[in-house]
Amino acid sequence: MSDFGALRIALSGLYASQRGLDVTGHNIANVNTDGYSRQTVSTVANSGPLTPALFSKWNDGGFGVTIQDVTRARDVFLQARSYLEHGADTSLKTTQTTLSRIEQLIGEPSDTGIQQQLADFWSGWQDVSNNPGDLASRTQLVQLAQALTTTFNKDSAELHQMNTDALTQLTTTIDEVNTTAANIAQLNGSIQSAQVAGLQTTDLEDQRDQLISQLSNDIGVTVHPDANGMVDVYVDGGPLVRGTSAQTLAVDATGPTVAVRWTKDNYPANSSSGQVGGLLATINDIIPRYSSGLDTVAQTLRDTVNNLHGAIGGTLAAGNQDLSTAGSLQFNLTVNGTALPAVSVAGANWSGAGGATALQTALQTALDTATGTPGQVVATVTGGNGGAMSISIAPANPTDQVQVSAVNGNNGFTTLLGDTLVGLDGVGGRPFFAGTGSSDLSVASDVLTSTDAIAASVASGGALDGHGAQQLAGLATSLTGADTLYRSYVVGLGVEAQSTNRKVSIQDEVTSQVDANQEAQAGVNLDEEMTAMLQYQHAYEASARYMTVVDQTLDTLINHTGT
C-alpha cells in the first residue's frame, strides 16, 4: 500500500457514512409517504486483489469500505398476499355497498314500506266489503292500490337506476385500470433502463408497487417478476402488463350480462376480485336478483287479486240442474271491450242425463257463435252426476279480456255464474291490476275509470253483496300470497346483507393484518432512524478524525523528517 493509501481508506469511510446519513434523511423525510419502503445502505469491506500475479502479491490488509447497494426492505411474498387481500376486500365492500343501498330503498321494517301498504290495501277491501255501495270506500281502495303500485314502480326504477350507476362506475374503473396499466408499463421501462445503467431504482419500484396496489383494489391482479427488475401483471389469467407493453380492457354491455373484455381479442377478463369484481356481481347478479324478486312479488299480487277479481265461473247444484222450466241461461259477453250478442243456452240442451258434458258442449257452441272465433273463449264444466257442477269461462289467450254481465234480472246468469265476482254494474271478468312486473304494475283502467268496476259482490249474492271483497281481503293471510313472498324477499335481503357485513369485517381484519405485517417490514421507525443517524454521525466523525491523524503523520514524515 502506498503512503497515501490511508487517506483513501479515510475517504471511503467518509463516503459510506455520508451515504448512510443521506439514506437516513431520505427515510425520515418519507416517514409518512404512502407505499414507501425504508431503505438501508449495504456496505462491504474492501479487501485487496485476491488473484496472485507473477512477482506480485498483495501483502497488506483491506483498504476501506465500498457502498454495495441501497436496498428496499420489502417482502415480495407479503406484497403478493397484500394484492390478493386488498382485491378481495374491495370486491366485498362494493357488494356491501350495493346491498346496503337496496336495504335503504326497500326501507323495511317501517310504517311506510310495502308490507304496511299491503296491509292497508287488504284493509281497504274489508272496508269495501263492509260498505259495498259506498263510493268513499271504493275510492279509498283505489287510492290505496295506487299508492302500493307506485311504491312498486318507484322501487323498481331505483333498482334500475342503481344498475345504471354501477355500469357507469364500472366503465370509469376500467378506464382507470387502463391508465394505471400504461403507467406501470412505463415505469417498467424506466426501471429496466436504470438497472441496465446500474442506477438505484428503489423509489421507482415503490411507485410501481403503489400503482399495482391501486390496480389490485380496482380489478384484482397477480404479479410475476420479469427480467431486469420489471414485473408482469395478470388479470383473470391474462397479461395486462408484460414488460413495457400494456393491454387495454373494455366494458361490453351489449350481451345479456355485462362483461369486461380484452380490447385486442374480445376475450372475457371477468375478474371476481377488486372493485370490478364487486361491480360485475352487482350488475349481473345482485340487482337482477332483487329486481326479479320484486317482480315476482308484484306478479303474485297481480295474479292472486286478478284471479279472484276477474275469474268467471260458478257452481250449479245437482238439484238445480234442470233449468228448462226457468227458460234459457242467458248472459251478455264482452271480449276486449267489444260487446257481443247475448249468449243463450236453452235448458233443454243440457239438463237431465247429459249433465256436465252436455252443458259444456252447449255453452261452448253458444260462446263460439257469439265470438265468431271458435275456441277464443273456452268453457269448462266439471262434476255433475248427481253432485254439484262447477263451471268456468276463460279466454284461451290470457291477454284477451273476457267479461260477462247479467241480462237484466236473468236468473240463469246468477245460477250459472254464481261464483263470479261482479262490480256495482253487475259486470264480472275484469282484472283489478294491470302490468307485467314491478316496474309497470298499475291499477287496471276499468277500475280507474269507474270505481263501480271494483268487484265486491258475488253474482249470486245480490246488488250490495260484500262477499267478493271479503274473499279478496282474505288474500292478506294467504300462505302463498304476495305478503308471505314479500316477507321472505326482505328476510333474504337481510340475511345476505348481514352475511356480507360479516365477511367484510373478517376480510378487513385479514387485510389490516397483512398491511401491518408489511408496514412492520417496510415502514420507517423514527427511533431506529435516529439511532442510525447517530451511528453514521459518529462514524463520519471517526473517519474525519482518522484522516486528521493520517494527515499529521504525513506532515511529520514530509515536513519534520531529515531537516
Binding site: 274489508q126 271479503q470 292478506a476 346483507a497 401491518a516
Partner: protein
C-alpha cells in the same frame, strides 16, 4: 393487530390508533342513532329474523285492527236490528191486546172499528220499521239495492243475500236479519195477518181467535230472531275483547322487536363515551414521544 414481536413503526401506531378510534366512534354513532330514532331495528340486516317478525306483526296488527273495525260495524248493524225488532215486538204485543179486546163479544161494532183503526196504524208503523234503512241501505232487505224491503201490500221485495263481517281470519258472522224470515211475505206474512186482523175486527170478529194464533206465531218468530241477534251481538263482543288483547300483545311484541331498551342503551352509550374519551386521552400520550424528543 400485529403481535408484539413485530417491528413497530410510527405509521403502524398511527394507523392502529386511528382504526381503534374509528371503531369506537362507529359504535358511539350506532348507539346514538338507536337512541334518537327509538329503534334498534332500522334495516333487515340488523337482524333478519327480527325483521321478518316485525313485518309479520305489522301485517297481523293491520288485520286485527281491521277485524276490530269490522266488529264495530257489525255491532252497529246488529244493534240497529235489535232495537228495531224490540219496537216491532212491543207493537205486535199491542196488536195482540187489541185482538183479544176485539174478540170480546160484548164489544160493539163501533168500538171494534176504533180498534181496527189502531191496528191499521200499528200495521203502517210496523211496515215502516221493516223498511228501516241503515247506512243508506235496507236493514231487512238482504243485499237489495232498493231502499225498502216491503212494498205497501206487505210483499217482501228484498233478496236472500247475507251481510257478513270477517271477525277473525276465515271466521265470518252474518250481521243482517232477513226480512222474509222474520216478518214473512204476502198473505201469510205479518202484514197480511195484520190486514186480516183489521178486516176481522171490522167485519168478522169470530175469526179473531185464528188471528190470535197467527199473531202469536209471528211474535214467536220475531222473538226468536231477537234472541238470535242478541246471541250474535254477544259473539261479536267476545271476539272484540279477544282482539283488543291481541292488539295489545302484538303492539308489545312489535315494540320488543323494534324498539330501543332505553336504560340498557343509555348505559351502553355512557360506557362507550367513556371508552372513546379514554382512547382519545391514550392517543395523545402514545403519539407524542419518540427518540427525537430526547436527542440534543
Amino acid at each position: 393487530m400485529p403481535s408484539s414481536d413485530f417491528r413497530i413503526t410510527q405509521r403502524t401506531l398511527g394507523a392502529q390508533v386511528l382504526s381503534n378510534l374509528q371503531n369506537s366512534l362507529g359504535k358511539l354513532q350506532q348507539l346514538e342513532n338507536q337512541l334518537s330514532s327509538g329503534k334498534v331495528l332500522s334495516k333487515p340486516s340488523d337482524s333478519p329474523t327480527a325483521a321478518v317478525a316485525s313485518l309479520q306483526y305489522r301485517a297481523q296488527l293491520g288485520t286485527a285492527q281491521q277485524y276490530q273495525r269490522n266488529i264495530d260495524d257489525g255491532t252497529s248493524w246488529l244493534g240497529m236490528a235489535d232495537s228495531t225488532l224490540q219496537s216491532a215486538v212491543t207493537q205486535l204485543q199491542r196488536v195482540r191486546t187489541l185482538a183479544v179486546n176485539g174478540s170480546d163479544g160484548a164489544m160493539g161494532a163501533n168500538d171494534r172499528g176504533a180498534l181496527a183503526d189502531e191496528v191499521d196504524q200499528l200495521r203502517a208503523s210496523l211496515l215502516a220499521l221493516s223498511n228501516t234503512t241503515f247506512q243508506n241501505r235496507s236493514l231487512f232487505g238482504g243485499n237489495t239495492s232498493a231502499k225498502t224491503a216491503y212494498d205497501a201490500n206487505g210483499n217482501y221485495t228484498g233478496d236472500s243475500g247475507t251481510v257478513s263481517r270477517e271477525i277473525a281470519t276465515g271466521v265470518y258472522v252474518d250481521v243482517n236479519v232477513n226480512g222474509a224470515a222474520t216478518f214473512g211475505s204476502g198473505a201469510t206474512g205479518l202484514f197480511g195477518t195484520l190486514q186480516q186482523v183489521s178486516d176481522d175486527l171490522r167485519t168478522n170478529p169470530s175469526n179473531l181467535g185464528n188471528d190470535l194464533n197467527a199473531i202469536d206465531a209471528h211474535l214467536n218468530t220475531v222473538l226468536g230472531k231477537l234472541g238470535d241477534v242478541g246471541a250474535r251481538e254477544r259473539r261479536l263482543s267476545t271476539a272484540k275483547d279477544n282482539l283488543s288483547s291481541d292488539v295489545i300483545n302484538l303492539q308489545q311484541s312489535l315494540s320488543d322487536v323494534e324498539d330501543v331498551d332505553l336504560p340498557q342503551t343509555i348505559t351502553q352509550l355512557q360506557t362507550q363515551q367513556m371508552a372513546y374519551q379514554a382512547a382519545l386521552a391514550a392517543t395523545s400520550r402514545i403519539i407524542q414521544p419518540s427518540l427525537v424528543d430526547f436527542l440534543k
